[in-house]
């Protein structure tokens, strides 16, 4: 069985939550939601999922608990959450913008608003899902910092999954780092790195679709493809109508 690009993305999103255990997984968007549910059904069975309203549900939608917004805020502040958000813009440090494009005072395009992104990024792990990898999204600077990047105090930015690749912040900007003070847990100099390209994608495509220089390892791995079990779950149980295919840019 050959996996589609969307199915590779679902699995790449699922991988974001690997090892998280019993924390609240908050995916925004369909492919991240499928990923979180897939993770729970397979390698991360302790994840907490919500129905998007106020219930905690299992991967089949059966209620297992209560999670109203005030409790989400508490879990968030407690650090027991890992959200995968979208982003209209994201820079090499991981600063993200979902608020507004252009001058904030009178934006060219008013978007969602900062929502919970400032608090998410300083309190608990955050990942991003960008369905259309392009220089418009991957910009040198974002217009309104909603989620903060590593240069502004992010707690942990796990991965950025796109329609082309998986990126992380394992890059180090040696230009501003003194070797004596080299600290891999440091906050100011971690920058975006290409972790893997999806099957069929060239590294040059990712570079061309990114509006700033990426850290690129000598050998770029290929994003893993779904197992037969994962494909079965995605196709037959989680998304039988194939809505995932329509979310890619």
């Amino acid at each position: 069985m050959n996996a589609t690009r969307a199915e590779v993305c679902v699995v790449a999103c699922a991988e974001a939550w690997r090892g998280d255990g019993a924390i609240l997984a908050s995916p925004m968007g369909l492919i991240p939601s499928l990923g979180a549910r897939l993770a729970r059904l397979t390698f991360e069975p302790d994840l907490l999922l919500t129905d998007g309203e106020a219930y905690l549900v299992d991967a089949s939608g059966e209620i297992e608990g209560w999670m109203p917004y005030r409790e989400v805020f508490t879990m968030l502040a407690a650090g027991r959450r890992h959200v995968m958000m979208g982003g209209a813009q994201i820079d090499r440090h991981g600063n993200q913008n979902i608020s507004a494009i252009g001058d904030w005072k009178r934006p060219k395009a008013q978007l969602l608003g900062v929502r919970g992104a400032p608090g998410n990024t300083v309190n608990h792990p955050v990942s991003y899902w960008i369905p259309k990898h392009s220089p418009r999204v991957f910009t040198p600077r974002v217009d309104m910092v909603s989620g903060v990047g590593y240069d502004r105090g992010a707690r942990e930015l796990r991965v950025v999954v796109t329609n082309l690749a998986v990126l992380d912040f394992g890059g180090l900007d040696f230009g501003v780092l003194d070797f004596g003070g080299l600290d891999f847990q440091g906050t100011a100099e971690r920058v975006m790195r290409l972790r893997s390209v999806h099957p069929g994608v060239e590294v040059s495509e990712v570079v061309a679709a990114t509006g700033f220089p990426l850290v690129i390892p000598d050998e770029v791995p290929v994003t893993r493809t779904p197992t037969a079990e994962e494909l079965g779950l995605i196709r037959n149980r989680l998304d039988p109508t194939g809505a995932r295919e329509r979310e890619l840019g």
Partner: protein, 262 residues
């Protein structure tokens, strides 16, 4: 005047009370809300001068169209806060504290677009003597709070029957005066005690407004009226269509509104 409005996005909003404001001469309002069509309508009518929020959404339609247009044409002022900061500001006001510390907002554009926001250092320092820096969210004191509940009694005890209380109790406690509209006024609240969110010490007035959250959701009494909300959003995108919408639905009193949407 600062008005706080309960609910969340397009969920359990006191829309009948918002419609009453539309018919009133009130203006120059500062509206504090997890914003949905409540804010949209007050922006469209020109009565909201400033909005304090972290978003403005119709949930099933991502962006509140009136709010979006007003921002892009510069006709409304915005105090943009992280959602958790808004919660904390209401909690501070409810507790009569000048501020509460929070991590949310640190490093973000929120501190840049709201230069009046300050940070504080924890007086409980780390071994190096430097306490953690935190955002001091100022109390969001409200003149009036408006919330919509499923059930209330005439004295102001009130109950939500849906899945989420949102922050309606904090809106009421943060306000000088709090007004509750309800689907049903009952002699005595029944059901799980945890659902009895508001007590009469928090509430100054009660209004009976059946279907009063329309077109937002008020489960289990009714879900969001998605078809009507879509019509609202479509009309809001065009000045001429909005005029027709307003004439059709918002030119009369609440009874006329309820008749028009039948």
């Amino acid at each position: 005047m600062t008005i706080g409005i309960g609910g969340w996005g397009s969920r359990r909003k006191p829309m009948a009370l918002v419609r009453a404001i539309l018919r009133s001469p009130l203006k120059n309002l500062t509206v504090v809300s997890y914003a949905g069509p409540d804010v949209g309508l007050l922006v469209a009518s020109g009565q909201a001068k400033r909005v304090v929020t972290g978003f403005a959404s119709l949930d099933s339609i991502a962006l509140e169209p009136h709010f979006r247009r007003a921002r892009q044409s510069g006709t409304v002022e915005l105090t943009e806060l992280d959602e958790g900061m808004l919660h904390w500001g209401l909690l501070a006001a409810a507790h009569r504290l000048p501020f509460l510390p929070i991590r949310a907002g640190l490093g973000s554009g929120v501190l840049e677009v709201n230069p009046e926001l300050r940070t504080v250092r924890s007086p409980y320092g780390d071994p190096f003597g430097l306490g953690e820096e935190l955002v001091a969210v100022p109390a969001l004191k409200l003149d009036v709070a408006l919330v919509h509940m499923n059930r209330a009694d005439a004295a102001g005890n009130a109950q939500y029957l849906g899945p989420d209380p949102y922050f309606d109790d904090l809106f009421c406690l943060a306000a000088g005066r709090a007004y509750v509209s309800a689907e049903q006024i009952v002699p005595r609240l029944e059901g799980p005690p945890q659902s009895m969110l508001l007590n009469r010490a928090m509430v100054h007035g009660v209004a009976h407004t059946p279907n009063g959250a329309h077109f937002t959701s008020c489960v289990p009494d009714y879900p969001r009226d998605e078809a009507f909300q879509a019509r609202y959003a479509k009309a809001a995108a065009d000045a001429g269509e909005w005029e027709t919408f307003r004439d059709t639905y918002l030119s009369g009193d609440e009874a006329a509104y309820q008749e028009a949407i039948r």
